[in-house]
Assembly symmetry: C2
Homo-oligomer: 359 residues x 2
């Protein structure tokens, strides 16, 4: 059992004056109980750590969730079984308001007619934002695989290969090298398509001399995600694209230098954005946020973006740093690394070279 | 624009006395508006079909969602932009209570302070359960790929290959043959592992003579999922496993024969379950539901299971039929096809042979 995580959860209960927490989503079941089944409910209070699963998962739960009380529920009304397992009258139950749908909450209120609910958004996501030693070790391994994936993709770049073919080969490379899955659908964009930050690779777009090649990909290893972007040139870039590259590269280094524990997350985005916007020709061309937390989810807290409320970065948070400059119709450059926030800076997990590369 | 789907949605509005519907989940955005972006909100009333997206997706939305009013939202508070686009005072807004989380609903109530909400669980899932001609055509293509995948996996079965290697090669086969993705993580189980209906393939379990080989997999094609299971024997099966096979096979044919429009979904499960349970040695060994709807989700309505409320099957519903018999410690057999419900029976989409096969 992961005592530290349970202790942090219990601190939250104390802080909010709640008696127990109900957790029903896959990511948090895995985080707190190491349980990877597709359905189940966790209940944690000051005495109990209980897992409610259906018949399919009792074996798996016994193996994975050491030290937890395992309850087999017939049917799938987990909350009713929990309600029947103790007296919850007058108790305050904490739930994450972002991880329960309205219909499930309706059932929950029926099952606990005499309890009060404390609803908090993103409460477990906030806990998960700061990684422990074991998580950082897995993120390092996921990053190594992301690096190898970039190297592999570059080895594929030949005239006539399609964007989709690069994506398909990469996914297979990750899987055969130990990934559980891709971290997300890779973005492979040739030429002007690289100007679209959320492009989907096409089977019809073939590589040709002079193309910018933007590759955004990652691997999932033991549940944890890596996320790397490199942009290379297939043949010499125009002087405009080369300048975009160098500006993006400088801005990314600036982002990495700005990060350290105590700095406001929004301020990191702002520093990079102001640098890019200080080039009149690129003003407003960095159209997305600077980065996001990574962990059991590919996008988690904290958010490095201009729209966020703003909060200081903490030691051992894991974030991406991924500025980009996009010129519609021409092309775009994005450079992205995964880092761990440290007291005086950051540890960069992804190591593939970032100097302008011509294939 | 898909007029039929919009008309069915509008009929629901009339039926429930609602003025408009808000739809915020990916599957239903795709179903109603052909929009595949990762974020966005649909609003449909008797006059408007409106899509609210952020800057990343305006281009994609214009391309995919022909005939829809496209609104670009700065930031991501889609509901506020919708609220500002018209007067919603006193209007009744319909939402699916299974597709909005509590925190999003909270924001929604702030954005529409003078509106009433009508909450219905699974309302769009029920509409989607009956497929139209275009959907059935895509499901047929997805099933062809599922069949080819089984043939491919059988060609891989050599002494010493691991469960995970079969899974990894299959995923790559599906991708290179036109699938967008796997339909779900394939279940490849050798020997006694085949007795666990929700097993995850291992890199350490290698194929050996005498093993039962259970393969449950599928492909996603244009958003739609196929799902097929075949169980074969690597070397002659024991007479016990052979009998389990023949009994499962018979039960599966019985399930297929029972299906037709008008028959209660629970009754189809019951017929197959009673048949299996009529063999004293297998009583209670069919531990899961008989089948589930397939479409834009891998598990959708209707449910063919003993726990369901029960409702008549309708023409053009798409379901799996997948009985299994599992003997812990020894092995299990599952045989699964995808079918379309017709007026007098069903069209079987997956065609890979089902006779007992020894490799």
């Amino acid at each position: 059992m992961n005592i530290n995580r349970i202790e942090r959860l219990r601190s939250k209960l104390r802080e909010l004056g709640a008696d127990g927490a109900l957790i029903g989503d896959a990511v948090n079941r895995r985080y707190f109980a190491d349980f990877t089944g597709s359905a189940g409910l966790l209940y944690v209070d000051m005495e109990r750590t209980a897992l409610f699963v259906d018949f399919r998962y009792t074996g798996l739960a016994s193996k994975q969730s050491e030290g937890w009380e395992i309850n087999e529920v017939s049917g799938k009304r987990f909350t009713r079984s929990l309600a029947e397992s103790a007296d919850f009258s007058g108790r305050k139950l904490l739930i994450g308001s972002d991880s329960f749908t309205l219909d499930v909450f309706e059932v929950m209120r029926e099952d606990f007619p005499k309890s009060d609910f404390v609803l908090k958004p993103r409460i477990w996501a906030r806990l998960r934002a700061v990684k422990d030693v074991g998580e950082i070790e897995i993120l390092r391994r996921a990053a190594v695989l992301a690096d190898k994936g970039v190297e592999f993709m570059i080895s594929l770049l030949k005239e006539g290969i399609s964007e989709a073919e690069v994506a398909i080969q990469l996914e297979h490379f990750h899987r055969t090298n130990g990934a559980e899955d891709k971290a997300f659908d890779p973005i492979i964009a040739f030429g002007p398509n690289s100007a679209m930050p959320h492009y989907a690779p096409s089977r019809d777009v073939k590589l040709k001399k002079g193309d910018t090649v933007l590759m955004d990909s990652g691997a999932r290893v033991d549940g944890y995600h890596s996320d790397i972007t490199r942009t290379v040139f297939f043949g010499d870039p125009t002087s405009e694209m080369a300048h975009i590259y160098e500006t993006t590269f400088e801005s990314q280094l600036l982002g990495l230098e700005t990060i350290r524990a105590g700095v406001d997350d929004v301020a990191v985005d702002r520093a990079v954005r102001e640098f890019i916007d200080s080039h009149p020709e690129y003003e407003g061309m960095f159209g997305h946020g600077l980065g996001h937390g990574i962990g059991l989810e590919i996008h988690e807290l904290p958010v490095l973006g201009k729209m966020d409320e703003g909060a200081p970065l903490e030691e051992n948070m894991a974030v991406t740093v991924e500025p980009g400059i996009y010129i519609p119709g021409k092309g775009g450059v994005r450079i992205e690394d995964d880092v761990i926030v440290t007291a005086d800076g950051c540890e960069i997990l992804t190591r593939f070279p970032k100097e302008l590369m011509v294939i």
